[in-house]
């Protein structure tokens, strides 16, 4: 039996950070946080959790991407970033606005990627996972991870340049 209270207390901040970073607002991050742990519990019912942190992070990315896609389809909340997330000291307002704009563009672009490509990109570029770790999490070979990342980057560049050209 897993000590879920301890796991939530220990891994909660990491999971919440991932969800917040990808979703950009607290309400969505909170819901994604709960969904992630419930998904992990269901997963633990089927197979033992060998590396709880890695699995939780991956589940958090997957759940956050699901929400991002739903949001992208609804197109109702284009700008959901909260200003409290932006640093106040040492950064000019223009830099702050630029970072917010870039982040939001990248979120929208990620929502258009296939799920596996988006997860591989987030785990590699945002969470700093290695190819091998991503391969274990996504259940694919290292070569396949490379292909996923390459395709994800190519598509994201295309999407970002389209947005920039509009």
């Amino acid at each position: 039996m897993q000590d879920w209270d301890g796991i939530v207390a220990r891994e909660g901040p990491s999971v919440w950070r991932i969800a917040y970073r990808l979703l950009g607002n607290r309400a969505d991050a909170d819901e994604c946080f709960q969904e992630t742990f419930l998904a992990a519990l269901r997963l633990a019912g089927r197979e033992p959790l060998r590396d709880a942190r890695a699995i939780l992070n991956r589940l958090a990315v997957a759940r956050a991407m699901d929400r991002l896609r739903r949001r992208y389809r609804q197109r109702g909340r284009e700008m959901t970033t909260e200003w409290e997330s932006h640093p106040a000291g040492g950064v000019s307002p223009s830099q702050c606005a630029e970072a917010a704009e870039l982040s939001e563009r990248l979120r929208n672009a990620l929502a258009e990627l296939p799920a596996k490509q988006a997860e591989a990109f987030c785990l590699f570029n945002l969470e700093g996972y290695s190819y091998q770790q991503i391969g274990v999490q996504l259940n694919c070979s290292i070569d396949n991870v490379g292909v996923l990342l390459h395709r994800a980057r190519a598509r994201l560049r295309q999407l970002l340049s389209q947005v920039g050209a509009e």
């Binding site: 039996m1 207390a9 709960q34 932006h86 630029e98």
Partner: protein, 369 residues
């Protein structure tokens, strides 16, 4: 001094936008982490969910067991199906064709004693070491003598195929008018060849072959004949029906000055899809199993021919006069099979007596096969 907003726009265009966007998202500071209330709420939800886990596990086990059972059923079913299909569709094996210790059929007075059945009369006599009467001598010599010209035995089987029924006039094929090059090459309209009936009801394009009674005959003693030729001339396959032997090849030729695409629709033999530019030739792989299949052209949909693969060299196809001749049959009792693409199959028992020929006439009737 440049205004800040224009500087910001320029920075968007510099460098790799993707890397900068990824950096911006990665470095986005998170406010305070999850609230204590959220953590407590999640822990409570997990505890509630954990109490339901045993039931959930059972629920999960059910589809697992179902999946395993379904997989086992599929594997067993496919294995059984494959085994059954292999038994029913298998080509005649060499062991089926070799008869070493078969007693003559005494129940039939007309049956000829097994005088020479083990030697194919179409090939010259072989030294004793090659004779099939000695079982182990079937092993091949390091340097077997090349096959000589066939020696025709007395067993000449002739016959005539007639059709009993009303004959409708030949039907012009549809779609030919859209291809003037075909009309030009053919020299006029192209007619359906599925029922070619000559004077007095003689039936063409019937393949007559020996289907049973050749248990003493050795296929190894008769090399496959040279490839049979199927020509495409004037947007028609010539001949319309081609009988070939197992081991023989089919040389498909395009004599027209334009493209044909030949599709060999075999099932028990290797199929083929051959694009044939003007005046070219292609050769199929040797046929492996007895079968009847169509050959058609994808470019000209009315073009089709039939290939009948027979597992012995004793076959013939009728012309417009309905006549056929099969030479070299050893004395014995055989089952003769006549096949027509529209009228189906008819069988007949024949007896070849040494020194004499035999006649076999078939009559096909109109109606379902």
């Amino acid at each position: 001094m440049r205004p800040e907003n224009s500087e910001s726009e320029n920075r968007f265009d510099r460098g790799d936008l993707l890397n900068r966007a990824a950096e911006a998202l990665r470095d986005l500071p998170t406010p305070n982490g999850p609230s204590r209330e959220l953590i407590a709420r999640t822990q409570a939800a997990l505890r509630r969910a954990q109490t339901k886990i045993p039931a959930g596990r059972l629920m999960f086990l059910r589809p697992t067991l179902f999946r395993v059972a379904a997989m086992v059923a599929v594997v067993c079913g496919s294995t059984l199906g494959y085994w059954t299909a292999a038994r029913w569709n298998r080509p005649r094996r060499q062991s089926d064709l070799v008869r070493v210790d078969v007693a003559p059929d005494r129940s039939k007075p007309d049956a000829v004693p097994d005088a020479r059945p083990r030697q194919n009369p179409l090939v010259p006599s072989l030294p004793p070491s090659h004779s099939s009467t000695t079982g182990p001598a079937l092993e091949k010599d390091p340097a077997p003598p090349p096959p000589a010209a066939p020696i025709l035995a007395d067993g000449i089987l002739t016959g005539r195929i007639v059709f009993d029924g009303a004959v409708s006039p030949p039907r012009p094929m549809m779609g030919v008018n859209m291809t003037p090059e075909c009309i030009r090459e053919h020299g006029g309209a192209i007619y359906d060849e599925s029922m070619v009936v000559g004077a007095n009801g003689t039936l063409a394009n019937v393949v007559v072959s020996v289907s049973d009674g050749l248990s003493g005959w050795l296929r190894e003693e008769y090399p496959p004949p040279p490839p049979a030729v199927l020509d495409q001339k004037g947007c028609v396959f010539v001949p319309h029906v081609v009988p070939v032997m197992v081991g023989q090849q089919l040389l498909i030729r395009n004599s027209d000055p334009f493209l044909h695409n030949v599709r060999v629709m075999a099932v028990n033999n290797p199929p083929a899809n051959l694009g044939q530019p003007s005046t070219s030739e292609s050769q199929t792989a040797p046929f492996e199993s007895p079968e009847v299949f169509r050959v058609k052209c994808d470019v000209h949909p009315w073009m089709q021919a039939w290939v009948r693969v027979v597992d012995n060299p004793f076959f013939a196809v009728t012309g417009r006069d309905g006549l056929f001749t099969i030479r070299g049959l050893p004395p014995g009792t055989y089952t003769l099979k006549a096949w027509h693409e529209q009228l189906g199959v008819k069988e007949q028992q024949i007896v070849i007596v040494p020194g004499e020929g035999a006649d076999a006439n078939f009559t096909f009737h109109a109606g379902p096969r």
